[in-house]
Symmetry: C2
């Protein structure tokens, strides 16, 4: 009774139950073709022997894998949230997920390569960074869904949030509160950074405030937000929109250390509605991406591509929504 004495196979169960291998297979798959009595008996034996099907062999023969590969990055809270949603969505339609992580020392190509060997039926990539051409090549092999990043290529499906609209919501909210001098801390070279930056600029222009809309170079993490805070403290605006929540928390802290009160002196809006942004002590006003909808659509999109003949390229753009919490308020009265 230890690892090493070989796991039981269909053959073992068949021998013990005195039936053919194929019949055991039928019972295990709950497929038609076995009497209730036999079914009962085989299941009993299988349980006694602690039989567990070998998915490798199963998939090898049946061709279909019902397995989706997901590439995500460690230390991205938003990716964790999306994984949660993807598991739910896949479960619901009887698909399995197999995960491959991008880490500081393991790049995206490696992560994808690992999944390709596993013969997943399709790939779901969270915020892929590799060139669009490479994604397109990949998509000739198997269905590829890119999340959070737009890819202009007919073979690659896209599920993303309307990021420009997200910034519109943020700016509209701030303008409604009375702000005019609003800055944006962008995401540097991150995926979606350009869309959000442009969304900010468009919204400011729409309000006739383009002269007051400063864009500060930021990045993905808290340190980027903190750095932006130091820059903004020189001549602080009354409100700031950010690339993501992580950056926003760094910004928050930096601004407060610089002596400003949030939201009394300055308002801050995050992006992602990460799980920590709703914590009481952070309580960040933020733009929420609809994770469950995105996850469901990404999965069903992938499955469609697996099942069907080549379908038309689709870019699904989900509207974001603004979650107003405690880091935004009307601007301070002029002295």
């Amino acid at each position: 009774m230890r690892a090493g004495d070989r796991r039981p196979t269909l053959a073992d169960v068949a021998a013990a139950a005195d039936v053919s291998i194929a019949l055991v297979s039928i019972v295990m798959r709950d497929a038609p073709g076995a009497s209730a009595a036999t079914r009962q008996r085989v299941l009993e034996v299988a349980r006694r022997l602690d039989y567990q099907p070998d998915s490798r062999a199963r998939l090898l023969r049946s061709g279909e894998s019902r397995l989706l590969g997901v590439v995500f990055a460690v230390q991205h809270p938003f990716h964790d949230d999306m994984l949660t949603g993807l598991y739910d969505a896949a479960d619901k339609i009887g698909y399995e997920l197999t995960l491959s992580a991008v880490t500081p020392r393991r790049d995206e190509r490696t992560a994808i390569g690992g999944l390709l060997q596993d013969r997943c039926a399709a790939l779901v990539l969270l915020g892929p960074q590799i060139p669009a051409a490479e994604l397109a090549t990949l998509a000739t092999r198997l269905p590829v869904v890119s999340m959070m990043r737009g890819v202009r290529h007919s073979a690659v499906d896209v599920v993303r949030t309307d990021d420009a609209r997200g910034l519109h919501l943020a700016v509209d909210h701030l303008v409604a509160l009375g702000h005019t001098r609003i800055a944006h801390v962008d995401g540097g070279r991150m995926v979606a950074s350009a869309e959000r930056r442009q969304g900010f600029r468009d919204a400011m222009r729409r309000h006739g405030l383009e002269a007051y809309g400063k864009v500060v170079v930021g990045g993905y993490g808290e340190e980027d937000g903190a750095r932006a805070a130091r820059e903004l403290l020189i001549d602080p605006p009354t409100a700031v929109t950010t690339f993501n929540d992580l950056s926003a928390t760094g910004l928050l802290d930096g601004l407060r250390r610089g002596g400003l009160d949030v939201p009394g002196d300055i308002s801050v809006v995050g992006y992602d509605d990460s799980s920590f942004s709703r914590l009481a002590h952070i309580d960040l006003t933020t733009v929420a991406q609809d994770i469950d909808t995105m996850a469901t659509l990404a999965v069903s999109r992938a499955v469609d591509r697996i099942a069907a003949a080549p379908v038309a390229h689709r870019e699904i753009v989900i509207p974001p929504r603004l979650v107003v919490r405690g880091t935004t308020a009307p601007p301070p009265l002029p002295p």
Copy 2:
């Protein structure tokens, strides 16, 4: 040239190169038994056909899987760090990792079940929460390594940090700075919480300070730390040790909102040296777990068990180290 027209197999390559299937297999595995010229030609054809080996079929036949299953939890920054280390360690000895996540809606049993189907050769569990008896049962199936959680069972290997010692380091550091009234915010029912709490109590006793060592119920996240802060603010000690960095950041924020200066009025020590704890604006003094060593040992332990006959149970306990940053200082002078 689209997904669906079946990926090339060994047979396709063999036909195209006009050799036997087995020979192609030999070439692809870089095994002896093929001439340099043929090798060259076969590789050329394989590349042209865009051939990729089917790892499932390969593993099925060869029996060996060189595949380690890892169960981790989303939204645990420390797990992300450990994943990074595990990938490195596995890479180094030619093993693959397959990941299965625990999410708010996907429990540990489900996560483990998914991996079992994949026929991994061994399982590495990050801070498993399921009962020890269940782990023991699991270990009769395949090698199991529990990380960050001690399991008293001969079949389950353990790689963990000496958590009691971690708290000793923290308390010693604070006492050396002159603190006497020190509180500990524990991890509630989290794995390792009891060890850290006990380590705190022992250290305080060793310094003759047991009368000054208050333990506050905490938990895993920032909100738990924030809640503890509210409790501590009633009659603040001059220093606090915590269950982890996440809780410590919540605590930090709560204390500062309560009007205390850190580290002027009160010192705070975290646990884990999570990637965010070293950010300039957090700059948390913390107890670091030796991630790379732990990851390397966990992987090699698992591999040993796979290869060898049942070996003796081993619990590997790694010493932590204190990382002194900006949240600890001597206590304020008495008024």
